[in-house]
Each structure stands twice: as structure tokens, then as C-alpha cells.
């Protein structure tokens, strides 16, 4: 029997008990919609993280901090210790140790590291003001020259520009404007302070005001947050101005290193070297992949529930086809008498199952995508308002194809049981069934 004839016969057989077929397909549809949506939510979240990270990308960038000997057990910074920490001449035990000038030199010497930038987190911004009267609390984010930033308006100041700033998106409304470009070119003042500027007796800070002209406005971004953004040279210059102690000036709280273009193997070797020397390091891609890993785990968990729904639906296929085999035993007997082989009978019922899986899968995926698009529009209008570049659900075509293949495969497995039963029927017994 020709394959085309088998498929045609299988499909026309499905239409013989329409209600039963439709109900069975409906169950597959429900399972498929669930699976499509759970996969789409996970992908939406991953896309969001990716977009957020792309907005502040440092190619070949590595963040380096010194390991805190008081923190963690067995090299795991999050594992609790079983002894009290040692005192290390610093206030507070959770503070990461500073990276000294000799540390900087040793990091610089490691093979694969091209350039290092130190940052003083001890330098704080207290507030920003446009007119000198209204002060708004703001923190600072310092970028290295190699960093790319996604701006809502304006340009990124050059690496040694000490008088320009990129303001956070919220600054537009805060400072009384309506569009990002309104802020470009305006002059704002920032209040800077280090711990050495705090009056030891009264605790009152005496900040230093610095004027900057606004060169850009940053898009809303998860990693940068609501920080004002300066070149890292600004951090170093102002710190050195406020804190004149040479050892303080040469000690950094963290370091951003630029490496050569490394393979992931070389990259992890480099990070191991850093770890052996007493530094924790993180690249943006590793931060991204660890977040993605968490999302994937949640996604797989959710998808398993959806898969259970599909699995339950396939029991419907088994049931439907077993009934069909019983109803059609005389027909099976006749076809066998007329020379149809076991394989032909098996394929015919298997195709019926696959057909149910196909229609259930296709309709389920289409409905899933439809529901998802509606949900996306609602989300954008209401609770995701202001989350730039975020779709609640995304539907990569490759995932949709995988879902369909899963549907077809499970349907085939479900159909195999009744199909086998039909193919093994004895023609005479089958013809005798009343």
C-alpha cells in the first residue's frame, strides 16, 4: 500500500467519529498550549536578561575583587564559616579587602590580561542638583573606556572627559523634563564624599560639589540601575582630590580588567589563576550565564508540568484508537484477507495517532502564540510599563518546532499500542466479530 494512501485512509478514518477525535485533539491542544506558554515565559525572561546585559557590555571584561579571608568556607563565598573571622584592621567584617598597588601590578602581569582599571567605591555621591536647591539622592556607576552603553539620548563621554556625565532615565522626570534629549547639554552638580571627609566628631559629611554637563541619558537598565554614569577616570581623579593619603590613593576596592580575546577554556584558566592568587573574578557573560541557568532550571520545571498534561492527553489517544480497533475489527480482517500486511495495518493506525498529535500540536502552538501575544500586549500596557525591551513571552520558531516534534513523537508512541494490537489480529477472528 502506498504511503499516501495510508495517510489518506488514516485521515478519513479519523473523521468517522468526529466528536471523539475532536475531544482527543482538544486534550493535546490544552497540553501543547501549556507547554508553549511555559517555554515562552522562560524565553522571554532570558531575552530580557540578555538585552539588559547587552546594554552595558564590556567585551573581554573581567571584574576582579580580592577574596575576603573571613568569608566563606572551602572557597565558597556563600558557605557559612564555623569560626569567628580574624580582625584585619578594617571596620566591618563583610568588607572586601582592598586591592593594593602591588596587587594591581601582580594582576597586570598575569598572561591574558591587557589592561586594568581600579575603582574606589569609598568615593560616594550624595546627591545631584540642577538648580542648587532641590537635591536628589543618586549613586554613581563608573565605566571603563572599553564599555558600550545603550543611551536613550546623547553620546558617551570620552574616557578622560572629567566634566561630562550620563544621567539615569529617571532623572528626566525628576529634574522636570519630559524627553531624554531635553537634558542633553544641561549643567548639573554632584556632591562627592569619601570617608576621610566625614567629621570624626560630629559625623557630618562635608561634600565637595563638582559640576558636570549632561552628555547622555541612559536607558532603563537592570545592571546600571538608577546610577549616574561617569568614566572611571572621574572616580580616580576626584578620589585623589578628596583623599590625599598616598596608600589610600593606591588601593582600590575593585578592578575591571580587559583581557585578550580568550577561548572559554583559556578564560576559565585565567580565572583559576586569579583565584589561586586570591582574587574572585566574574565576567559579564558568566554573570549572564548563571542567571540564564537559574531561569532554565525554572523553565524545565514548569515544562515538566506541561509535559505531564500532554502525557495525560496521550492516554486519550490510546483510548480512542483502542476503541477504533475494536469497532473496525471486521474491516481490519477484510483488509488482511485482501492481502494487507501487518506493516500496512500498523502504519494506518500509527498515522491516525500522529495525525491527532499533529493537529493538536499545530492548533495548540497557534493558540499558545495567540494567547501569548495578547498577554504580551496587556503586560506592556499595564504591569510591565517602563520595562524597556521586555516581552513577557517570546516564541522562537525552533522551540515551536521542537514542541511539535515532541507532540508527534508522543502521539506515535501512544498509537503504537493499538496499532500493534490491530496488526496482530487474525483475519478470520477479526471477520467473525459481530
Amino acid at each position: 500500500m502506498k504511503t499516501l494512501d495510508i495517510i489518506r485512509t488514516a485521515n478519513s478514518n479519523l473523521l468517522r467519529s468526529k466528536t471523539r477525535t475532536i475531544l482527543t485533539i482538544l486534550a493535546i491542544i490544552i497540553g501543547t498550549i501549556t507547554l508553549t506558554l511555559t517555554v515562552a515565559i522562560g524565553n522571554g525572561a532570558k531575552d530580557y536578561i540578555n538585552n539588559q546585559i547587552k546594554a552595558v557590555d564590556i567585551p573581554n571584561g573581567l571584574f576582579i575583587v580580592k577574596k575576603n579571608p573571613n568569608q566563606g568556607r572551602d572557597g565558597n563565598p556563600f558557605a557559612p564559616t564555623d569560626t569567628l573571622p580574624k580582625y584585619t584592621n578594617q571596620i566591618g567584617i563583610e568588607v572586601t579587602p582592598l586591592i593594593s598597588s602591588s596587587d594591581m601590578a601582580s594582576i597586570q602581569q598575569i598572561k591574558g590580561i591587557k589592561k586594568v582599571y581600579g575603582e574606589h567605591t569609598n568615593l560616594q555621591t550624595l546627591y545631584v542638583t540642577l538648580n542648587g536647591n532641590d537635591k536628589y539622592a543618586v549613586s554613581a556607576y563608573y565605566y571603563v573606556p572599553e564599555e558600550t552603553l545603550s543611551l536613550a539620548a546623547g553620546t558617551i563621554p570620552s574616557a578622560n572627559d572629567s566634566t561630562s556625565v550620563i544621567l539615569p532615565y529617571k532623572a528626566i522626570k525628576t529634574l522636570g523634563y519630559s524627553s531624554p534629549s531635553d537634558l542633553i547639554g544641561k549643567t548639573v552638580s554632584f556632591a562627592f564624599i569619601t570617608s576621610s571627609n566625614i567629621n570624626k566628631v560630629t559625623g557630618t559629611p562635608t561634600p565637595t560639589l563638582k559640576q558636570f554637563h549632561v552628555s547622555g541619558v541612559m536607558v532603563t537598565n537592570l545592571l546600571v540601575g538608577d546610577n549616574a554614569i561617569f568614566p572611571v577616570s572621574v572616580n580616580n581623579a576626584i578620589f585623589n582630590e578628596l583623599d590625599t593619603t598616598p596608600t589610600d590613593q593606591q588601593s582600590f576596592s575593585n578592578v575591571a580588567a580587559i583581557t585578550d580575546s580568550l577561548s572559554s577554556k583559556d578564560q576559565s584558566a585565567l580565572q583559576t589563576t586569579l583565584s589561586n592568587k586570591g582574587y574572585n573574578s566574574n565576567s559579564i557573560s558568566s554573570i549572564s550565564s548563571s542567571i540564564q541557568g537559574v531561569i532554565t532550571t525554572v523553565q524545565v520545571g514548569l515544562s515538566l508540568f506541561a509535559a505531564i498534561a500532554i502525557l495525560a492527553a496521550t492516554l486519550g489517544i490510546v483510548n480512542t484508537l483502542l476503541m477504533a480497533v475494536l469497532e473496525r475489527s471486521r474491516e481490519i480482517g477484510l483488509m488482511k484477507a485482501l492481502g494487507m500486511g501487518k506493516g500496512g495495518i500498523f502504519s494506518m493506525f500509527a498515522f491516525e495517532a500522529i495525525s491527532i498529535g499533529f493537529w493538536g500540536g499545530i492548533i495548540g502552538i497557534l493558540l499558545g502564540v495567540g494567547i501569548g501575544s495578547i498577554a504580551n500586549n496587556l503586560a506592556r500596557k499595564y504591569f510591565l510599563k517602563g520595562f524597556e525591551g521586555y516581552s513577557l513571552l517570546t516564541f522562537p520558531i525552533s522551540f515551536l518546532i521542537i514542541i511539535l516534534v515532541i507532540d508527534l513523537f508522543i502521539a506515535f508512541l501512544a498509537g503504537a499500542i493499538p496499532a500493534l494490537k490491530a496488526s496482530r489480529m487474525n483475519p478470520i477472528d477479526a471477520l467473525r466479530v459481530e
Binding site: K2, T9, S12, L334, M335, A337, L338, G339, K342, G344
Partner: protein, 225 residues
């Protein structure tokens, strides 16, 4: 030529056996019309099933043109039945969801003939059973006689050498039954198709060249016309 030698067919398990066929010897020549006559439970249906390669004998052999069916594998047996044997059943066994045309083309479809090539052949056999005007009708919308004509057309479609008819008039009134029997004998005479009718109806049996009476799985007697 069909040659049946010392055919035995035993049903049941070790404790409870039942001999449906108990040493049947029989030769049927090409183009002959033969009636296998017997009461229900006599073994006549089992004999037909074994002769038509639908069932295997417990012992003994069935040979077509000197070739033993026991030497054929499942695939060869399927092909053999498909190409050489036509079946006409008492209960018709037509597919209710298909029309006359589709029902008749079933053996060709099983053989793997493409839809285009099936078309011509189906029209030809429809003419032979005088049912051309009903080809689009659903099988369920036909009268008993028309149904049996469709079955005969289906049996004829592969130009079989033998037609096995199992109580072909069992579900028909006597007038309709007569026309069906006439059609079968016409095919037997004009196309030299060997006709083997399983029946308990003496009037039909008497029309055949030869009658074989079966009782308790044995041949009671042969009778030639």
C-alpha cells in the same frame, strides 16, 4: 488446479481439542464451479479459510499449480491472496464511510497501485457488475443485492483465478439471490474463474459442476452434475 491433501485442522488446547477438518482430500480444476455443502459446524468454512490461505492447516497441504502454500511466508501469502483470490462474503464487509468506487478499489490500493491507475480498472469492473451509475453512492445507501454486486466487483478487480463465495446469498431474498448467483456463474463461464461456493442451499449447489458434502470435517460424498 487446487490440490488439497490429507488436510487436518484442530482447534483448542491439549485438554480440549476439536477437529474441524479431519483428513480432507480434494482436487479442483481451473475454471470449475464447486459447491462445498454442509451444515453449520461441519467444517466447510474452515476448509474454505484454509484453501484461501486465510488460515493454516494443522497438517496436510494445499497446493496451487503444484506449489505448497506452506512454503510461502506471510508477505508472499498476502500477495498471493491479493492477486489470485477474490472473496465474496455473506456479510458483504463494505466500508461504511466510503463510496462504492473506493470500496471496490481497496484491493488495488493494498497492492500499491496509484490512484490514477486504479480509476480505469474500477470503472471496468463496475460495468461488469452493472453498477456504473452507483459509483459515487455510499456503501450504506445500497440495497442488499447492490451491496453484493459491489463485493463481486471488489473480488474481480485484480483479475483473480479463483473466487471464494461464502454463503453469498445468505443475506438476500431469493429473487436478488438468484441474480447474484447468475452473475457469479456468468463470470465463471465467461472468464473461466474457478468458483468455489460455500453454502447450505441445495438449489445453489445443484447449479455447480460438482458438489462436495462435508460432515464432521470429512467429505461425505462427491456429486457431479
Amino acid at each position: 488446479m487446487i490440490q488439497v491433501t490429507d488436510l487436518h485442522k484442530t482447534y483448542g488446547n491439549k485438554k480440549n481439542t476439536y477437529d474441524a477438518l479431519n483428513g480432507i482430500n480434494l482436487t479442483i480444476n481451473d475454471g470449475e464451479s464447486v459447491a462445498i455443502v454442509g451444515k453449520s459446524g461441519s467444517g466447510k468454512s474452515t476448509l474454505m479459510h484454509v484453501m484461501a490461505a486465510l488460515d493454516t492447516p494443522t497438517s496436510g497441504s494445499v497446493q496451487y499449480e503444484g506449489k505448497n502454500l506452506a512454503n510461502y511466508n506471510a508477505r508472499e501469502l498476502n500477495k498471493f491472496r491479493n492477486e489470485n483470490i477474490g472473496f465474496v462474503f455473506q456479510q458483504f464487509f463494505l466500508k461504511p464511510n466510503q463510496n462504492v468506487f473506493e470500496n471496490i478499489s481497496l484491493p488495488l490500493m493494498i497492492k500499491g497501485i496509484s490512484a490514477n491507475q486504479r480509476h480505469e480498472r474500477v470503472l471496468q469492473v463496475l460495468k461488469e457488475v452493472d453498477m456504473e451509475d452507483k459509483k459515487k453512492n455510499k456503501a450504506t445507501d445500497l440495497s442488499g443485492g447492490q451491496k453484493q454486486r459491489v463485493c463481486i466487483a471488489r473480488a474481480l478487480i485484480n483479475n483473480p483465478k479463483i473466487i471464494f463465495a461464502d454463503e453469498p446469498t445468505g443475506n438476500l431474498d431469493s429473487t436478488t439471490g438468484k441474480t447474484i448467483i447468475d452473475l457469479l456463474f456468468k463470470l465463471n463461464k465467461e472468464k473461466h474463474i474457478t468458483l468455489i461456493i460455500v453454502t447450505h442451499d441445495d438449489d445453489i449447489a445443484k447449479m455447480c459442476d460438482r458438489r462436495i458434502y462435508i460432515q464432521d470435517g470429512k467429505i461425505l460424498n462427491h456429486e457431479n452434475t
